[in-house]
């Protein structure tokens, strides 16, 4: 057998480990202090939430991982993740959690925090814009369905102007206005 002098090449890309000291320990406490966060720290990462979730198998970060990330203080990663916005809010995870962690509600809190910091996916901003412009998300068109049912083309009494006015004064208005 010949002896080889060859050395193994270093891996193509060495990924730096996550430096714990650079994470934000206040994030955990921040979420925990919110009304839904009381039981946050009870999580023992059994992943029941991920097993319960109907759509998480397409997610990069699964629900139990997002909770882990909150506990570790990975503020940036959680608030900029698209998963918190993809959540269907079916509450299946929260219903099944053996430690009473309010998983879905905590994701709502995360969305609110993300919104405060203008970390909202474009698609969501688009929806907000639609809501603000039209006063409703799904505009009823005077199509054949209403006709078939002997209904008049316009929805009677529907007035979106008030909604538009109210929404303008809320966070939805600020998000679309981009003045944050």
């Amino acid at each position: 057998m010949t002896e080889t002098e060859e050395k193994a090449d270093p891996p193509a890309v060495m990924i730096e480990p996550i430096d714990i000291s650079k994470l934000d320990p206040d994030f955990r406490e921040g979420i925990r202090s919110m009304p839904n966060g009381e039981e946050l720290s009870a999580c023992f990462a059994c992943s029941t939430c991920t097993a319960a979730c109907p759509i998480a198998n397409t997610w990069k970060y699964k629900p139990h991982q997002l909770i882990r990330m909150i506990l570790l203080g990975m503020r940036e990663e959680v608030l900029s993740s698209e998963e918190i916005w993809l959540c269907l809010t079916c509450f299946e995870c929260q219903e099944r959690c053996p430690q009473n962690v309010r998983v879905t509600d905590i994701f709502f809190d995360c969305k609110n925090l993300a919104a405060e910091e203008s970390m909202i996916p474009d698609s969501i901003v688009g929806l907000a814009k639609e809501l603000l412009d039209k006063g409703q998300l799904y505009v009823v068109t005077a199509d054949w369905e209403r006709e078939d049912m002997d209904l008049e083309p316009e929805v009677p009494g529907l007035s979106t102007e008030e909604f538009k006015a109210i929404l303008k004064g809320t966070r939805t208005g600020r998000i679309v206005g981009g003045d944050e």
Binding site: S41, A42, R68
Partner: protein, 416 residues
């Protein structure tokens, strides 16, 4: 008069068995290798599940000997107990019911019945020390390897003449009817598990060593300090299953290390201000009602990382850089800690294999197994040979006490 019972090991199980036998009128020879009784429990600081100091432990409450408020110990004064510390059983012969046990008794430099623990000898020489204010026997201990001129002076000046530096070791043989094995466990020193650097890198300790640092009776007065320089510890990492559940070391789960690791984590986070604890684990096995330690730990902010440590590097300032793999996140995490604590496997104590062989007992992963594994009598190891406590395998204190009482009950029945 019937022969006495030999109890090997004066830890939780052995003390319970000996005192209860003695109280029932049965003479007992209680032997321990160390100069004081209590075994591992003496070094635990707070013991689970009651979080009492062992000295006042529930199972001993009816035994004034173990309570600190009593000057003299029932273990010493109960006439049915013959306590032999610094002593080892070297050979057992004879037949069941009539064993001959050869004992090697170390030099008795201090007469514990005379010592009043005035501390004069400790002032004169480093060879004398007091292992704990509540130690039993209530006496100082002497280390001949540290002998000096001061020791001789102390011998002369001792107000009660309790010191005899010329004491010699002795051998004796006792005839006993039954043997109770209560030899406990030993915490493995994980020197051969390279990746954790134990014994090579400073500030890497085991859980029992951590318990001694946290003990208010210890050197630092209970302050959490680094062994290397006594600097204050701000960040701690613990690793579970070091040598346990590992076919290269001990294939079994050491059963109680998850609970006492979390007990320590909780003491540190809740009672040592501002110290952060991270626990790296494969499974947390806080069985039964001990789940509460896990729950309290999570509430208290102990950080849990499911995975293993991949790399450990000592820094110049005495801290350790650690990279751990978090298998739940599938990410590598980098930590900097002051103290790295290994939850090392609990192994059979020295001499277990010889004892098992000489008495023809069954070995259960090196611990003493029951004579009949299908019977419910787990404390019956052989004919007139009983086993209790951690000599059967890792056990918690209430379990050890219960088993010791079972042994006492069986011996009493056999003598009816």
């Amino acid at each position: 008069m019937s022969d006495p019972v030999l109890v090997i090991g004066a830890g939780v199980a052995g003390l319970t068995a000996a005192t209860q036998l003695a109280d029932s009128g049965i003479r007992t020879v209680l032997v321990d290798r160390l100069p004081i009784v209590g075994g591992n429990a003496m070094d635990l600081y707070k013991a689970f599940p009651t979080d009492d100091c062992f000295y006042c432990f529930e199972g001993s409450r009816s035994r004034p000997g173990i309570r600190k408020c009593f000057y003299r110990s029932a273990i010493l004064d109960q006439p049915n107990i013959e306590l032999k510390v610094n002593a080892e059983v070297t050979e057992i012969s004879g037949s069941p019911g009539k064993f001959q046990a050869k004992l090697s008794v170390g030099s008795q430099y201090i007469d514990s019945k005379k010592c009043i623990m005035c501390g004069l000898c400790i002032e004169r020489s480093n060879a004398f020390s007091l292992p704990s204010p509540q130690c039993q026997p209530q006496a100082v201990i002497y280390d001949p390897e540290l002998s000096d001129e001061g020791a001789k002076k102390a011998e002369e000046e001792c107000p009660t003449k309790a010191i005899n530096l010329g004491a010699q070791s002795s051998e004796e043989t006792v005839q006993v009817s039954d043997i109770v094995i209560a030899t406990g466990y030993h915490e493995m020193k994980p020197v051969s598990i390279d990746e954790y650097g134990y014994g090579k890198i400073p500030n890497v300790v085991t859980q029992l060593e951590l318990a001694q640092i946290l003990d208010p009776n210890g050197k630092s007065g209970g302050a959490l300090v680094r062994p290397s320089d006594d600097g204050q510890v701000k960040r701690v990492m613990m690793v579970q299953c070091v040598g346990s559940r590992d076919e290269n070391y001990y294939p079994f789960c050491s059963k109680i290390c998850c609970v006492y690791a979390l007990k320590h984590a909780n003491i540190i986070v809740l009672e040592r201000d501002g110290t952060q604890v991270t626990v790296v684990y494969m499974d947390i096995r806080t069985y039964d009602r001990h789940e509460r330690y896990y729950r309290v730990a999570r509430d208290a902010g102990v950080r849990f990382v499911r995975g293993r440590v991949s790399r450990l590097e000592a820094c110049e300032d005495g801290t350790l850089d650690i990279i751990a793999y978090d298998s739940l996140l599938d990410k590598y995490l980098k930590f900097n800690v002051d103290l790295f604590v290994l939850s090392s496997a609990l192994e059979p104590p020295k001499g277990s294999a010889e004892l098992i062989k000489s008495l023809g007992l069954h070995s259960a992963s090196g611990f003493v197994g029951p004579a009949d594994s299908t019977s419910e009598n787990e404390v019956v190891a052989g004919d007139h040979v009983y086993v209790c406590g951690a000599a059967t395998g890792p056990a918690e204190i209430p379990e050890s006490v219960t088993q010791a009482r079972a042994v006492v009950s069986m011996i009493l029945q056999s003598r009816k």
